[in-house]
């Protein structure tokens, strides 16, 4: 695309992209650390994650202020307007991802026993997929790659499917041994957080589509999360 006649406009737009890249990098880092902390019961690392969250929050505020000033000053049109709106939306998704990572870290502090091995494996796998998705979507944003964004959008259902199995497994533990309810509940929320991170990632993919093409993606995204309709049969006493 051609450069703007007013070159400061280009610099201001580039600044927004840079801020998104920074936020994305931080969100990835926080998320990875929160998962390490949880799976290894590393409370010091968890504390660190909790303390670092406000970095992302500050960047989001900064980006928002710059975006508002840009709109007021330049009255952007077409692709420029979309770039600014999309930057605001993506930054808010990244900020939420940061919050969710922080929440996973908090739950690490609340869980005192080591995690059941298969749950740990399931959640680690979920997190691995979610991290891959997040990294891909940030890459798609940096390159304005709609195909890659589409790929991310479609692949979220893999995380949902894993979430279903972790969910069921945790229910089983709780039914077998009531003493695990405290830990399992925290883990359930932890798994839910990872699943939510996947959803924010698909939001970002949708925004990349809008940014590049000017339209929303059409059709239904495949969804596999069935936990909201899962029921438990209480064992007969």
């Amino acid at each position: 695309m051609n450069t703007h006649i007013v070159s400061a406009f280009d610099e201001e737009l580039a600044e927004l992209r840079k801020l998104i890249a920074q936020m994305g990098g931080l969100a990835e880092d926080q998320f990875a650390k929160s998962i390490d902390a949880l799976s290894q019961s590393d409370k010091r690392l968890a504390e660190k994650v909790i303390a670092s969250d406000d970095k992302i929050d500050r960047l989001e505020k900064d980006l928002e202020e710059r975006a508002i000033k840009l709109i007021a000053k330049r009255q952007p049109m077409a692709a420029d307007l979309r770039a600014i709106i999309v930057a605001i939306r993506i930054s808010s998704d990244l900020e939420r991802i940061g919050d969710l990572a922080k929440n996973i870290a908090k739950r690490t502090l609340a869980v005192d026993e080591p995690l059941p091995r298969s749950v740990n494996a399931g959640m680690s796998r979920m997190a691995e997929l979610a991290m891959e998705q997040l990294s891909d979507v940030l890459d798609a944003y940096a390159r304005l790659d709609v195909d890659k964004a589409q790929d991310v959008w479609l692949k979220d259902s893999r995380i949902d499917a894993l979430y279903n199995s972790v969910f069921r497994e945790l229910l089983t533990y709780m039914m077998e041994d009531a003493r695990t309810i405290g830990m399992c509940t925290h883990l359930l929320f932890g798994a839910k957080n990872i699943e939510r991170i996947g959803d924010h990632t698909t939001n970002i993919a949708e925004n990349i589509h809008y940014l590049v093409t000017g339209g929303p993606p059409q059709g239904e995204r495949p969804k596999e999360d069935s936990t909201s309709v899962t029921t438990v049969e209480t064992p007969a006493r």
């Binding site: 695309m1 051609n2 450069t3 703007h4 006649i5 007013v6 406009f9 009255q75 952007p76 049109m77 077409a78 692709a79 420029d80 307007l81 979309r82 589409q150 959008w153 479609l154 692949k155 259902s157 893999r158 499917a161 589509h209 093409t213 000017g214 339209g215 929303p216 993606p217 059409q218 059709g219 239904e220 995204r221 495949p222 596999e224």
Partner: protein, 278 residues
């Protein structure tokens, strides 16, 4: 998991803007042109141009200086006839009637197609005479009461009456810029036109006077076919329903205003409205 994904009919595609603007499906076409060309001497200013302009809506012509938008606007009421070296080819119809038909009375045409210019140009006469002049020469009023009624109605429609009702006999040139422009709009609508052409009507006005005129344009569109040439992209986005982008004498893109300013299809339109080098 990937297998399940592949089985589902999933689409991730772009919604394309429809070939015909939505506004054209909701309104009757008022002005229709076929292969209109304009030459100034040897120089061609407009290349074969086809457009349909909707009735009871505002259409905005945008484009860089010298792109032919004003030249084309002036074809619609045959203002270009006054320029000796100017030749207009092709066909322009209003309500199906060819306006370049030799049998057509140009004076009558210009009563049907009013025009408002960039700089307010009231006659050096009273406010009342400015508005009553047209209806009088076109024989639209039978007596003084008729004329007073037309003047009052036109000034009211132009949103000026309340400000000038106590000084209708004062000179029109004594009004502020924005008031003068509204006086010119009142003068244009006094002869009961169908079409109002506006050539950058706000470029000499301050933001408040501009907002008043834009508000007025929005009210007038219920009864008139309005075509406005503007250099302000924001103004085109605010007041019009249809936007046409001109570049180097050609019509590059026509579409619903909303789509044109968020997602234009043509590269040249994008570059222009975003202020990028073309």
């Amino acid at each position: 998991m990937d297998a399940t994904v592949a089985e589902k009919p999933v689409r991730f595609e772009t919604v394309m803007t429809p070939a015909e603007p939505v506004i054209m499906q909701q309104r009757q076409p008022k002005i229709v042109t076929e292969a209109v060309t304009v030459h100034y001497g040897d120089k061609q200013a407009i290349f074969p141009l086809d457009i349909k302009i909707p009735d009871r809506a505002v259409s905005a012509f945008i484009g860089p200086s010298g792109c032919g938008k004003s030249t084309f606007l002036r074809c619609i009421n045959r203002m270009n006839d006054t320029i000796p070296s100017c030749r207009v080819g092709g066909k322009i119809t209003i309500d199906g009637e060819d306006i370049y038909d030799p049998a057509l009375d140009v004076v009558q045409l210009r009563a049907r197609v009013g025009m408002v210019f960039q700089k307010p140009n009231p006659f050096p006469k009273s406010i009342f005479d400015n508005v009553s002049y047209g209806p009088r020469i076109h024989g639209l009023a039978h007596n003084k009461t008729d004329l007073e009624e037309i003047v009052e109605k036109s000034l009211k429609r132009a949103g000026l009456f309340e400000e000038v009702k106590d000084r209708l006999q004062s000179p029109g040139t004594g009004l502020s810029g924005g008031q003068q422009q509204r006086l010119c709009i009142a003068r244009a609508i006094a002869v009961n036109p169908d079409v109002i052409l506006m050539d950058e009507p706000c470029s000499a006005l301050d933001p408040i006077a501009t907002a008043r005129i834009e508000e007025l344009i929005d009210e007038l569109r219920e009864n008139y076919c309005i075509v406005i040439v503007t250099h302000s992209m924001q103004q085109a986005a605010r007041v019009s329903q249809l936007t046409a982008f001109f570049h180097l004498g050609t019509l590059v893109e026509v579409g619903d205003t909303e789509a044109m300013f968020t997602n234009p299809q043509e590269r040249r339109t994008q570059d222009y409205i975003m202020g990028r080098f073309g």
